[in-house]
């Protein structure tokens, strides 16, 4: 395993998260998979759609539901070169949420742009 900016990134893996925060272990298990794939030099995109976008809301009070702050998990992603944490524009449009509600590192992409990313990926895992 290796970490760092000079790794060869031939294999692209997209992981799609569609279910809301704290409802199950989807987020943790998706991020775990992303981290391990990145450690094996894969280029990983974490793509949040539907209710899954709520996982990325900042200032969540996880302790009030006896859970841990899952957004903290994302802070370590850049060390594994996971730069692409993506929210689907169309999913965002269905809510009253705005970009400012989310952690800083997210990128907003349209469904068409995400489809293109998926077409170019070697592996697609929908959690």
């Amino acid at each position: 395993m290796s970490m760092g900016k000079n790794k060869s990134m031939n294999i692209k893996t997209n992981i799609i998260i569609s279910r809301s925060s704290f409802s199950n272990s989807d987020f943790k298990e998706a991020v775990d998979l992303g981290l391990v794939c990145a450690a094996f030099d894969q280029e990983v995109n974490l793509i949040f759609v539907d209710s899954g976008i709520t996982n990325l809301i900042k200032n969540q009070s996880a302790e009030k539901v006896d859970d841990k702050n899952q957004v903290d998990i994302l802070k370590g992603l850049e060390f594994y070169d996971i730069d692409n944490i993506i929210i689907e524009q169309e999913s965002l449009d269905l809510t009253r949420l705005e970009t400012s509600h989310f952690i800083n590192s997210v990128k907003i992409k349209t469904r068409a742009e995400i489809n293109k990313l998926n077409q170019n990926a070697n592996h697609l895992v929908s959690i």
């Binding site: 031939n10 294999i11 298990e29 998979l33 894969q42 070697n122 592996h123 697609l124 895992v125 929908s126």
Partner: protein, 132 residues
Amino acid sequence: MSQELVILVSASPVKAQVHLTTIRFIEQLIKQQVAIHSVFFYQDAVQVANRFSCPPSDEPQLIEKWQSISLDSQLELQTCVAASYRRGIIDNHQAKELSVQSDNLHPSFKITGLGQLAAAMSDPKVKLIHFK
């Protein structure tokens, strides 16, 4: 470069039809001599490896079907260690760690790390097929 398939299963065994579809798919792959790299169980799918599960006799006996696939094809059925322990599926090693009387992992399955799946996915000749 000959292609190999990694089969990823993430559906709970309660969704029996997903497992049955996966098993039928693997049977066809074997019949057509398509190379299968590995079968990896993640998320709720790991619960199928619980040797104490007792589905009603008139419902699909998934563990027997997976065992049959494993024996006939020599395929290793891998379950994710973190997903397994999180759901109470433990092997002999973890049973000793926890000082409990018995493990509950069916002998057809092997608990491994996510790294096994990621390493397989890093092989350019491997294609992932996900059943959920």
